[in-house]
């Protein structure tokens, strides 16, 4: 029995009845406890007491990141601070931070959601959960930590950084499940290999639970090859809860949403109309049980889709696909929409290229210029410039075929693209604000 199997295998009809019951309470709770929702609901004539079906929720207004920034720090709290146990904040690198509060029960739910993921990974109280997401206001570290505790596993609160010590612990303590960003997992693997270790033999990992950034299937395959484990994707966001909103099972065919705690919609980002299952759109989340900072129809800006059908693992919670990117990660290069993920997919078809890349956006003569910086693998025969130029040409052609726009390829020295211990920096936009 894995953690909370009875919930993750709940009968669909029963689950949907539970969701609807919780949804009805959630909209009323927000309306009565948080002035922001009362004003917003009243402004569009949405009556929370009259909600009878999931469709009725579509008449409720959205909540955006800007709303959360405007509410900084406490305006979206439903309860007095005496009932709030912990807060987290988004990094605020692109503006004012957004704050999320947690009651004791919220922390339990959060830990439960992540602990289910540890169960999906085949983990239980006999496992050693190695958490090297950053601890602190970022939800990654403590979310995984509470998951480890709730799953009953021995939890090692490494936090991010001090990679040599991470490697030492991975070697000597027998960590079996590692939780961090995918790029940090790659950095740890590469560093261990560079130190002369073979992580396949010297580490004891069976699974990794990796999130907080988009990563391609090829990047995953490379990680799994280097670490001899299963790399599972986890989704979460500060504004809603943190990691654990959805987690992949060992089938690796999408992330099971913790549907007993979240109601999800996939909407066309332009028309805001729901798209059919299987089609891509923006993920919109309503919390069903959150007490301190509940949210109604939060526009995540993350692009995903509902994967139709049942998962081979037997769990009934619906799956969302691995993120395609974010609507605000989308680059518009000379009028063409480009997601970093598409570029990564092309790159991973070239084994001459290392796993690190960065896209630099500039403007020359009022035209957008996108330059993809890549590092070549050390065993590439770089003695012959012709071969490097040939690789650049082939890559540029493949990018043009895929994206219908030109991307310049620039080969840089190894280790010049910044390695990250948190989220990988894939896009550097040097265009000024008015040029975008």
């Amino acid at each position: 029995m894995a953690y909370q199997d009875e919930i993750t295998h709940m009968d669909r009809a029963e689950l949907e009845a539970l969701q609807l019951e919780r949804l009805k309470k959630a909209v009323v709770y927000c309306y009565e406890k948080i002035p922001f929702y009362k004003e917003n609901f009243d402004a569009v004539g949405f009556d929370p007491y009259a909600l009878e079906t999931f469709e009725d929720l579509r008449r409720a207004p959205f909540t955006t990141k800007q709303d959360m920034r405007d509410a900084y720090p406490y305006d979206l709290f439903a309860l007095p601070k005496s009932e709030v146990k912990e807060i987290h904040m988004s990094s605020g690198t692109t503006g004012v931070a957004t704050v999320s509060g947690y009651t004791e029960n919220d922390l339990k739910v959060w830990g439960d959601c992540f602990a289910r993921g540890i169960g999906y990974a085949g983990g239980d109280e006999n496992d050693i959960v190695h958490v090297c997401y950053g601890y602190g206001l970022f939800t990654g570290g403590l979310g995984a930590h509470y998951g480890g505790l709730n799953a009953g596993a021995m939890t090692i609160p490494m936090s991010a950084g001090n990679t040599k010590r991470q490697i030492k612990v991975l070697q000597s303590m027998g960590s079996s499940i590692i939780c961090c960003t995918p790029s940090y997992a790659m950095y740890i693997a590469d560093t261990a290999i560079e130190m002369g270790l073979d992580p396949k033999k010297d580490f004891h990992l069976k699974a990794g639970i990796h999130g907080a950034e988009a990563w391609s299937n090829q990047f995953r395959a490379n990680l799994e090859e280097k670490l001899d484990y299963k790399a599972l994707d986890v989704y979460g966001l500060t504004e809603v809860m943190g990691p654990g909103v959805a987690i992949e099972c060992m089938e690796q065919t999408g992330l099971h949403v913790a549907e007993d705690h979240f109601w999800i919609e996939i909407l066309d980002p332009e028309t805001h109309e729901p798209v059919p299952d299987g089609e891509w759109g923006e993920l919109v989340i309503t919390t069903l049980t959150k007490e301190a900072t509940p949210v109604i129809r939060y526009r995540t800006k993350d692009i995903t889709r509902i994967i139709p059908g049942e998962c081979a693992c037997g769990r009934t919670h619906r799956r969302i696909d691995r993120l395609h990117g974010r609507t605000d990660d989308m680059m518009i290069i000379r009028g063409v929409n480009v997601f970093p993920r598409q570029i990564e997919n092309v790159c991973t078809g070239f084994e001459e290229i290392a796993d690190w890349y960065q896209i630099e956006l500039t403007r020359e003569n009022s035209l957008d210029v996108a330059t993809l910086k890549i590092e070549i693998n050390p065993d590439f025969p770089m003695d012959e410039i012709r071969k490097i130029e040939d690789l650049q040409r082939r890559l540029e052609q493949a990018l043009k075929d895929e994206l219908a726009t030109k991307i310049k390829v620039k080969v840089v020295e190894p280790y010049t693209i910044t390695r990250s211990e948190g989220k990988a920096v894939r896009i550097v936009d040097l265009r000024s604000e008015e040029e975008k």
């Binding site: 025969p381 770089m382 012959e384 410039i385 012709r386 080969v411 020295e413 280790y415």
Partner: protein, 139 residues
């Protein structure tokens, strides 16, 4: 054939200094340094007194460095000396990826060639002095 050091360098300020300093600190003496440059990067080709030690020092300092095999042949120090060497090569119909001259052992002008190993025998037969590892560094 001779071991030549090939280093990939980004076109950034200070990279050549860093490269030469790293080799100097490792006690490596260079016989030649030739730079093939493009807009974004350069390929540095070096012949030195300890190619294997150089690779080790450079890898540790995170340079992208590898060894390439090149043919080295002494050039007669007379007008038309180099033309004679190339004329001998022309007859072979082989592809020369690149070549450059440097001052080799005992101060004699030497031509380095990225060419198939077979040219060594042909150059030797044509009366040119083909160099071996021991002539340039402790093999």
């Amino acid at each position: 054939m001779i071991d030549q050091l090939t280093v990939f360098l980004g076109n950034e300020e200070g990279r050549l200094t860093a490269l030469c300093r790293t080799l100097g600190d490792a006690g490596i003496q260079m016989h030649s340094l030739v730079l093939a440059d493009t807009t974004d990067y350069g390929i540095v080709r070096i012949i030195c007194d300890n190619p294997k030690g150089a690779i080790e020092a450079l890898s540790q300092a995170r340079f992208t460095a590898s060894l390439a095999k090149v043919v080295a042949v002494e050039v007669p120090h007379v007008p038309g000396g180099l033309a004679g060497v190339f004329a001998a090569l022309d007859k072979l119909g082989v592809n020369i990826e690149y070549s450059y001259c440097f001052i080799g052992a005992n101060g004699v002008a030497t031509l380095a060639l990225k060419a198939p190993e077979s040219v060594m025998g042909a150059l030797d037969e044509a009366g040119f002095k083909v160099l071996h590892p021991g002539d340039l560094y402790a093999a």
